[in-house]
Amino acid sequence: MPRRGFGLAGTLCNVPLVRSSILRPVSGCFDFAHLTPRCTALACALMCVTVARAHPEIENGLAELNPRIEATPNDAAQYLDRGELYARHADWIQAEANYLRAAELSPRLPGLDRARGALALRIGNPREAGGHFARALALDPRDAETFILRNRARVALGDRAGALADLQHALRLIESPRPELFLERAALIAAARDAVRSLDDGIARIGPVHTLQLRAFQLEESAGLIDAALARLSVIAAQSERKEIWLKRRGDVLMHAGRIAEARAAYGAALAAINSLPAWLRESPDSATLATELARLSGRAS
């Protein structure tokens, strides 16, 4: 079986949260004497899991999991597996029903609270998610993924300081974090200089990644840190085989700052970069359009 805890919880996609009126936080769901409408739905879902599904991948997964669950009906891990299968296919009710069964059988099952929290977050219950994540972290305080997910729950609840703390923690735990995590952290920091500093920390760790440099440049430019922004553009341009776009951007920044002569030089350098391209690239429509614009801008600058 796959390594537990992946799938829904592991996604990096920033898709909008789905809100469901039937899925609200409940407890004691399998106390059948006190069934809420949601519990009824979940209990029914769990009882109906063998019903054929439309999606072949779910069918294949169930074909493997259902017999195992029948053979060992008290193995909580199997319900977690089945819940994650459903979660991967956005079947939230079936996913939750299976998680609840797993929780009944083994409340401290590794990965279960993270999966339940991820599901709660996904369906728009960040507060409930936070509770699951707290329990998951109590069981495994080195679970970077759960810190990242709890940071997102906290963002949804408006707790930016808590979110930032979680993300910092996660970034310390991951040896080589993806750039998206540094971008996510920078977005939590209000002061532009501090946000840039956080991005530079990311650059120091994983290299001058384009997306980090670009975000830092945007922050520097909007904060009026012109020389820093220009230096940043130089780094970005150095990574690109075609420098004209970034040289033009340099000209734009300088022009906006009223540094006309320097802007003209930058536009000229951009034009020279285009002219040094092989003919088949120089003559491409994009390059030709840019060259025309650069000529116009140079004229205006002068």
């Binding site: 996609c13 998206e180 690239l281």
Partner: protein, 447 residues
Amino acid sequence: MKLPQLFVTFALVAGSAVHAATTIVRGPYLQTATPTSMVVRWRTDNTEASVVSYGLERNELTSSAKAEGIGTEHIVQLTGLKPNTKYYYAVGAAPVPPPNPAKKAAEDAPGRAAINSFTTPPPVGPAKPTRVWVLGDPGTKNATQMAVRDVYYKFTGSRATDLWLLLGDNAYPDGTDADYQKAIFEMYPQTLRISPVWSTLGNHDGKSANSITESGVYYDIFTLPKRAEAGGVMSGTEAYYSFDYANIHFVCLDSHDSDRSAGGAMMQWMKADLAATQRDWIIAFFHHPTFTKGTHDSDKDSDSQGRMNDMRAIFLPVLEQAGVDLILTGHSHVYERSWLINGHYGKSDTFNASQHVKQKTNGRSDGEGAYKKPRRRAPHAGEISVVTGSAGHAGSATKPPPLNHPVFYLSLNEAGSSVIDVDGLKLDFVFLNEKGEKRDWFSIVKE
């Protein structure tokens, strides 16, 4: 047992005795190839040091490179290599002396005694005839996967595979390490040792990989260029990256588990990467197809949780704007190949041939003529979109998929793999089915 085999076995046993019965259980395999460097990886059953001995002659492995520490997963980068040059190499715990010429037969045998070879990529930019093998959704571990493989081996013969692409769902059902062992490492040992492989993440790989922390089996197995080691712009992640080979720029996207939004990091990186390239050809590959009516349906929003929609509506326009020539995908276990198309970003019922087809011919040099594109890089000059997701199995024969998406010139419910040959400003494409039949072919010529 034939004599050479007996000799190899003896050599392996003898070598094993010296090294406490350590056996290579995976690889060696080649990663992140650049004109001047190569990553060699392998796995042993016992912990030991990681050393690659290499040289320009089989019997003169005069150079060696090693990784720090000891372990069972061995990752060694060779640097300072010459472009477009054949190197012989052997892996082990210590530098090995060149073997006795009598061991020549050992080249394709696994184990520490084996001497393998690879050819470094040529200098970036100038054209060089390039053969690329493309496998979508191969990892079934079954007879179909083997048949598809063997058909290609026969097809390519002594012609080297310069690189090969895995379009995701490389190892069914769950992309576990054991799945990969059977579906990739025991399926293609020969190709792994001599040709660098590049991969994109599929949904089945995603079951045992964690994109948030970039960990798990997929990320453990592959060493992909997150720092633009092989060209392109630095992505900072192995989930999406690019690389150059001669006059081709390859762009790998993660359609499964990275942010696919227009403002997301993958898109920002891709825009910068495409804007920066000076290669003649741009080939993009990712798992989820932009169009399909095979074992998946790109018209259904719920199919694959909208990933196909995202790749078509969000990424395709940007790829076309940048002048992409070829888009390779899998996920749908069929073969579907488009006309030379542009500008179709909606569902199939919005497809309008007069608007979206740039050249409505079969693209065959021996038929209606190769597709023509301008030499100068022009936005929206048209690309061929290929779903080649049947390297492990095709759709059901008893309940065949509809295969009626109008964007495609040809749709086949057949297992097979694809081959790309780029020679200067000509690109030839072939789809070989599991029976060894050339079931589709086309060419694109830039002029």
